[in-house]
């Protein structure tokens, strides 16, 4: 019986872009348990939303997470809109889908790059991030800002995408798809990549369900669920299927995200083809009252907002349950029995977003 040692992993660690600590209980090289220690990024954002006006809160919730900022704002706006019974114009519903999928594209590219970096494939990391800049250029052109684009507003969107911009976007997406084909070959077939990912950090279908995993982690374990299929924004008018893989290991989680990149490109094309003419925002008057829970599918999984309003310009309570929080139990399960060298990849495979989790 080997002696147990506790190894602190983080908060500042080269593979982690954000501070989280895992205390790894080790027996020689094997992890027998992982104890998470969080709180390094906690800001008290939910309390802050109670002091700001309802329209100002859009800018606050966008800063829960810079990577999926658009989806946070979307979820919040949808909640307030359904509390106030506002019908959003058709054009803005489609524009929301387009920006949402652009965010998914850039988030997945970012993650694929970080994964490549974690298994030491530096040039693949650079390639993914080079491709990602095409998406960032689209964001900058359509919204004027690269990461936090602030295009959501209560009742619709703040900016329109005109026909010249549409041409540019569709051209960029064609180029992006060609580049994706190149990196997909490496990710799916390369011998070294397979060695690092296949059968690493497996989570079974039953465990994923029982531990409440969401998003790509859940779909990689064979559970077919994607909140977009419920048809919020304009997703009910677009044709797509949840992407599912069966093996539940890091390779499957990588493949889900890689295939979702193609899916996002396809959804954006469909949305542009169906984009109706018309206004981009409905007028909003008065203040909401009542309580509501809304959900949106983020790149990392589904996010849940609970909003309680009291008829004034300030909310009583805003509660956010983010996808990474839901995936941490699954992570703790999957690191058991891994060797220390595989820990960075296992942690990255859930695409952790600590600033979401801690707010």
């Amino acid at each position: 019986m080997a002696k147990k040692t506790i190894l602190p992993f983080g908060p500042q660690h080269p593979v982690l872009p954000e501070p989280i600590q895992l205390q790894l209980v080790m027996e020689d090289e094997i992890v027998v348990e992982a104890i998470p220690a969080i709180g390094y990024v906690h800001r008290g954002l939910e309390k802050l939303t109670e002091t700001k006006a309802i329209a100002e809160n859009i800018f606050v919730v966008e800063r829960i997470c810079g990577i999926c900022s658009f989806m946070h704002a979307l979820c919040y706006c949808q909640g307030i809109e359904s509390l106030m019974n506002i019908t959003v114009p058709d054009r803005s519903r489609f524009l929301r889908v387009i920006w949402g999928e652009l965010h998914r594209l850039h988030s997945h590219h970012l993650w694929l790059g970080l994964l490549a970096d974690a298994f030491g494939f530096e040039s693949l990391f650079m390639q993914c991030w080079r491709n990602r800049e095409m998406v960032m250029d689209i964001m900058e052109m359509t919204a004027g800002s690269r990461v936090i684009i602030s295009t959501n507003a209560l009742g619709g969107v703040r900016r329109d995408i005109d026909s010249d911009q549409q041409k540019f976007i569709l051209n960029s997406l064609n180029k992006l798809q060609e580049e994706l084909d190149n990196i997909k070959r490496v990710f799916s077939d390369d011998y070294t990549v397979n060695k690092r990912l296949v059968d690493v950090a497996v989570i079974s279908k039953e465990d994923a369900h029982e531990l409440g995993a969401v998003g790509p982690v859940m779909r990689a374990s064979g559970l077919s669920f994607d909140y977009r299929t419920t048809g919020y924004a304009a997703y009910n008018e677009l044709d797509f299927e949840p992407i599912v893989e069966q093996s539940g290991d890091c390779y499957a989680r990588m493949m889900v995200r890689l295939r979702e990149c193609y899916q996002s490109i396809d959804i954006i094309r469909q949305a542009f083809a169906k984009l109706p003419e018309g206004p981009i925002a409905s007028p909003v008057k008065g203040f909401p009252s009542g309580e509501i829970a809304t959900r949106v599918e983020q790149p990392r999984g589904e996010v849940l907002y609970y909003i309680k309003a009291n008829g004034t310009n300030h909310l009583d309570r805003l509660r956010v349950r983010t996808p990474t929080f839901a995936n941490i139990p699954a992570l703790l399960k999957m690191v058991k029995g891994l060797t220390l060298a595989d820990i960075p990849i296992a942690i990255l495979s859930i695409d952790p977003c600590i600033s979401c989790t801690e707010r």
């Binding site: 500042q12 990024v41 906690h42 008290g44 954002l45 790059g113 080079r130 690269r146 990461v147 936090i148």
Partner: protein
């Protein structure tokens, strides 16, 4: 020997990045600086994971009660001469989170900051400009022989 090290620090500054309480917006822009479109490596800038290898500390996000000690720890481990770049509104002043109960404000409440980069999120061009200004701070410290003030 000291001469070689200090020349290396200004000709090829190595940076270490620490995320205090950022929303990731600035972090991904810092990472974007390292990648082919912006490519700070052409200035000799290299991102390292170990604070003991680094000349410039790039911080994003607000300081809070829990990470202040970690930030101080990272800063203290860096060898002199060193410089600190606060990236984004949060790291500079606390930004949108300055009134939150768990934030102390900008990172200058915890460690001395040399360069402030504005923006929410700061653009890669601005971050690169900030790092290059920090190099000038390093050069000045080398010339004047300024010593570690703690």
């Amino acid at each position: 020997m000291m001469g070689i090290l200090q020349t290396a620090a200004t000709k090829s500054p190595w940076i270490v990045h620490f995320d205090c309480g950022s929303c990731n917006g600035c972090d991904i822009e810092i990472l974007a600086c390292l990648t082919p479109l912006y490519d700070v490596e052409r200035f000799g800038v290299l991102n390292v994971g170990n604070p003991k290898h680094a000349d410039i500390l790039v911080v994003s996000g607000t300081a809070n009660y829990r990470n202040a000690r970690v930030l101080r720890n990272v800063y203290d481990q860096m060898p002199w001469p060193k410089a600190v770049v606060a990236v984004g509104a949060c790291a500079s002043t606390g930004g949108i989170f300055r009134n939150c109960y768990n934030t102390l404000g900008g990172v200058d409440k915890v460690i001395p900051v040399d360069v402030y980069v504005p923006g929410c999120a700061a653009k890669p061009e601005a971050i690169m400009e900030g790092v290059l200004q920090a190099v000038q701070v390093l050069e000045k410290r080398k010339e004047t022989g300024e010593t570690y003030a703690g």
